[in-house]
């Protein structure tokens, strides 16, 4: 990073570059700050009796139509016994549940509950049977080994989510979403519970330590702008090809026409 900047200081584009770099950095910093705030929301491992009761009320009102009373499941929705508080928090806090239109894949919508309500629902679903718990703050802190996390991510996740987490297509309209901006607790819970078409990565497949490494890697990629300048959405060669044809050649052809016109 430092090197490229030094190199181009003498060029007339230096000003543009400095501004660009400034924007990238402040953008990155902002993203980092918000990520930090979000992961700081309290995730209680122990749930009180009132919380569960509150959760049950919300569940009956919002979820039972599909998941049935006591979460036993209906033709419209699977049973939630044993999916754990982690699954509930992931689904509701990411805006996937309560589900709406049925499509190839439940879509992310604006979140419909307050944090306390979500905690309550999660506590209730967690009380239905033994299942994955909501991770503690220490488990999702982005201070693991990014290098190992990168390797694990490429082996376990990149085939669906792309090597830099830019997302990718699956069959029949299903897709693996981009992971940029996904809060750390959701990443952990997604691995733990395997929402919809994503496989479950339980603690035997990926130890909590390794999950932490993956989170560290993803957060690193998210908060560190590319050393080479603007990234074209992390989409790789297709974006690069379109760029050279549209922008690169746009400029060149405009200049050739201008040169040609000069001579007349």
């Amino acid at each position: 990073m430092k090197k490229t900047m030094k190199n181009s200081r003498r060029s007339p584009f230096a000003a543009a570059l400095v501004i660009a770099a400034g924007l990238i950095m402040s953008g990155g910093g902002y993203a980092f700050a918000t990520a930090a705030v979000e992961s700081a929301t309290p995730v209680s491992a122990v749930s009180s009796q009132e919380q569960v009761a509150e959760g049950e009320k919300l569940f009956l009102a919002n979820c039972a139509s599909c998941h049935g009373k006591n979460g036993v499941g209906t033709p419209n929705g699977p049973t939630l016994i044993g999916v754990g508080a982690a699954a509930a928090e992931f689904q509701v806090d990411s805006g996937r549940m309560p589900a709406q239109a049925s499509g190839p894949q439940m879509q992310v919508k604006p979140v419909q509950f307050t944090d306390e309500q979500i905690d309550a629902i999660a506590a209730y679903v967690g009380s239905l049977g033994v299942g994955p718990e909501i991770p503690t703050e220490e488990m999702i802190a982005a201070n693991g080994n990014a290098s190992k996390g990168g390797e694990l991510f490429r082996i376990n996740c990149a085939m669906c989510h792309n090597a830099v987490g830019a997302g990718g297509a699956l069959t029949e309209g299903k897709f693996a979403p981009a992971l940029v901006g996904v809060p750390a607790d959701h990443i952990y819970e997604a691995m733990l519970t395997g929402p919809q078409n994503m496989p479950v990565f339980n603690d035997a497949n990926l130890t909590p330590e390794e999950k932490k490494d993956i989170i560290t890697y993803l957060k690193y990629v998210e908060t560190n702008p590319s050393a080479g300048g603007y990234e074209l959405a992390g989409l790789g060669p297709v974006a690069e090809g379109l760029f050279i044809w549209i922008i690169g050649f746009g400029i060149i052809i405009a200049l050739t026409i201008w040169l040609g016109a000069k001579s007349n």
Partner: protein, 586 residues
């Protein structure tokens, strides 16, 4: 190019050197000859130059990279400055690419310059090729040079592919894996070729070093050689020009190479260089540090080759996947063979096009005045179909991104693109041909009756007419100066037999030239002009212009070949004429 200093104020240092050279090698003679070459001005003639200059940038930045890149696949533990890969095992090639990116001063910039200029090089060569195609610049005597240019384009793809595979990151390894799979899909010899190339089972330990010698020696050397041939032939043939008064098949109108053109070209080099630098300083390309070193187990979503290989990747993706059969002592992977064959066939047709067209027209004359694309409707339409075919294959390489970005099902995208691949070129052919013919007819109208001015005059007897402004000579020349071929018939050979080849040729000729609009001839023009003189006159009988032109036409046809056949709509009417015309040719 720096030789322009040989113009001689006597006694100066340079003049003495120049004189020295001249007395020994006869530089002045060469320069005089070369410097008097004329190069016409049109922006589309500069696309080839863009390719040339991008290649120069490639050479310079590539040479820089060779100082630091190490083409070895021995495993090492990375211990450089890039945090997320610290401690990872990787090949020396990948580690040295990371070092170039993060530790060599200016290294990342040079990598990005090299890669962006590679994309620019092949794109410029492709656009240049399209310009040559659509203006008919490949016609005699330039067929061989088309072939050379075509080989340059293919070598550009080869250079890009071998380069892309050097850093040994995940994407480049995935690309090689596909090549390996394709090779193995070739019956009988496939697996032997694959193990020869990779020195054993994929990925082996040799491939990067082998690609390296291809990439920095063989391919660039071939490109430089062919470039020299290419440019030499441009000098011999002289440049083509667009039609205009005084521009003929026997001359070239433009600026002399020396000094005007050399100065311009020199300036243009820096413009291209500057644009590439601007892009390379601002936009990341191929961030290999994100992809990790190659390891045969992971595959990333969104794995794509650079754009110029995209169409082949697309062909593979679009091929129906169930076409694999067991039997006859092996596995027959038609899902690999068909795209392979389609790709090769497409390239062969592109390379051979000038020869094909010449065979069809039987035209032996030299052409130095370019066609306007509309004046060769079927060639233009064939070109449009080819471009569409290529573009759809290209889109086929991005099915996954289209699916996620437009929120569609991957399967639907794939099926739509498969259908588009078959229907698109036919549709493009048809639409382009119609448009070209319509434009030609519009040109005819303008030549015969002038431009519509939008001024409406009311005649004393009440009729409203629009004033048409006659064209000036320059405009006029551009619109009438073209040649229209007529279909040839299959004719018996010396033994009195009509061969299959003759029949094929005749039907191709019909396909090319059945629908046509002929240029306006002298007589027809004179008749129209005469008519036009009277039109605004007060006594002139109101008469619509079209019939007048038509009446004039047969007269002209008697002498010149300038028959007005309204193509397309009145198919039966033109048949006899075409037949009569056929024996006249040749």
């Amino acid at each position: 190019m720096s030789n322009s200093t040989t113009t001689k104020p006597k006694g100066s240092f340079l003049a003495n050197r120049a004189n020295y050279l001249d007395e020994r090698v006869g530089v002045a003679g060469i320069l005089k000859e070369f410097g008097r070459k004329v190069f016409p001005d049109h922006w589309s003639f500069m696309l080839g130059e863009v390719a040339l200059y991008s290649f120069v940038v490639l050479l310079i930045s590539g040479t820089f990279l060779t100082f630091f890149f190490q083409p070895a696949m021995t495993e090492v533990v990375y211990n450089g400055v890039y945090g997320p890969l610290k401690g990872a095992e990787m090949s020396i090639a990948y580690a040295s690419t990371l070092d170039i990116s993060f530790e060599v001063r200016g290294g990342l910039l040079m990598r990005q310059v090299h890669h962006w200029s590679a994309l620019m090089f092949v794109a410029a060569a492709g656009l240049h090729m399209l310009r040559v195609f659509f203006t008919g610049a490949f016609r005699k005597p330039r067929e061989i040079n088309w072939l050379v240019g075509f080989l340059l384009f293919v070598l550009g793809m080869a250079g890009g592919f071998t380069g892309y595979s050097l850093p040994d990151d995940l994407l480049s390894g995935n690309g090689l894996r596909i090549i390996d799979g394709m090779l193995k899909g070739v019956p009988v010899v496939g697996s032997s070729i694959s193990s020869l190339l990779f020195d054993g089972e994929f990925p082996g330990h040799a491939i990067v070093a082998r690609l390296y010698s291809l990439h920095i020696m063989i391919v660039p050397a071939l490109i430089i050689l062919l470039l020299a041939v290419h440019l030499f032939m441009v000098v011999i043939h002289k440049h083509t020009h667009y039609s205009g008064p005084g521009r003929k098949d026997t001359n070239v109108v433009g600026y002399p190479l020396m000094p005007v053109y050399v100065a311009k070209a020199g300036g243009f080099f820096f413009i291209v260089f500057g644009v590439i630098m601007l892009i390379a300083t601002t936009f990341t390309i191929n961030p290999v540090w994100n992809y990790g070193g190659y390891d045969p187990s992971p595959v990333s979503a969104g794995t794509q080759p650079d754009w110029y290989i995209g169409w082949l990747d697309g062909a593979l993706r679009l091929a129906p996947s169930h076409l694999e059969f067991q039997g006859l002592g092996g596995t027959w992977s038609f899902n690999i063979l068909i795209p392979l064959l389609v790709g090769v066939l497409f390239l062969v047709v592109v390379g051979a096009y000038p020869f094909i067209e010449k065979w069809i027209t039987g035209d032996e004359r030299e052409h130095h005045v370019l066609d306007r694309p509309r004046n060769a409707p079927v060639r233009t339409a064939v070109g449009a179909a080819g471009v569409t075919f290529y573009a759809v294959l290209w889109a086929g390489a991005a099915t996954d991104l289209i699916a996620t970005h437009f929120k569609m099902s991957l399967n639907h995208v794939l099926t739509s693109i498969q259908i588009l691949l078959l229907v698109g070129p036919v549709f493009a052919f048809w639409v382009t041909k119609r448009i070209a013919l319509a434009l030609q007819r519009k040109d005819r109208e303008i030549v015969l009756h002038g431009r519509e001015t939008g001024r409406i005059i009311r005649m004393p007897h009440g009729e409203f007419i629009e004033v048409h402004e006659p064209l000036d000579k320059y405009e006029m020349y551009k619109l009438v100066d073209f040649k229209s071929y007529q279909p040839t018939l299959a004719r018996p050979n010396s033994e009195g037999k009509i061969t299959v080849a003759a029949r094929v040729r005749a039907s191709l000729s019909k396909f090319y030239f059945q629908d046509r609009v002929t240029p306006v001839g002298q007589v027809e023009l004179a008749a129209a002009a005469h008519h036009e003189e009277h039109a605004p006159a007060i006594e002139a009988k109101p008469e619509t212009k079209k019939p007048a032109a038509k009446k004039a036409a047969p007269k002209a046809a008697a002498k010149k070949t300038a028959t007005t056949k309204k193509a397309s709509t009145k198919a039966p009417a033109k048949k006899p004429a075409a037949k009569k015309a056929a024996p006249k040719k040749k």
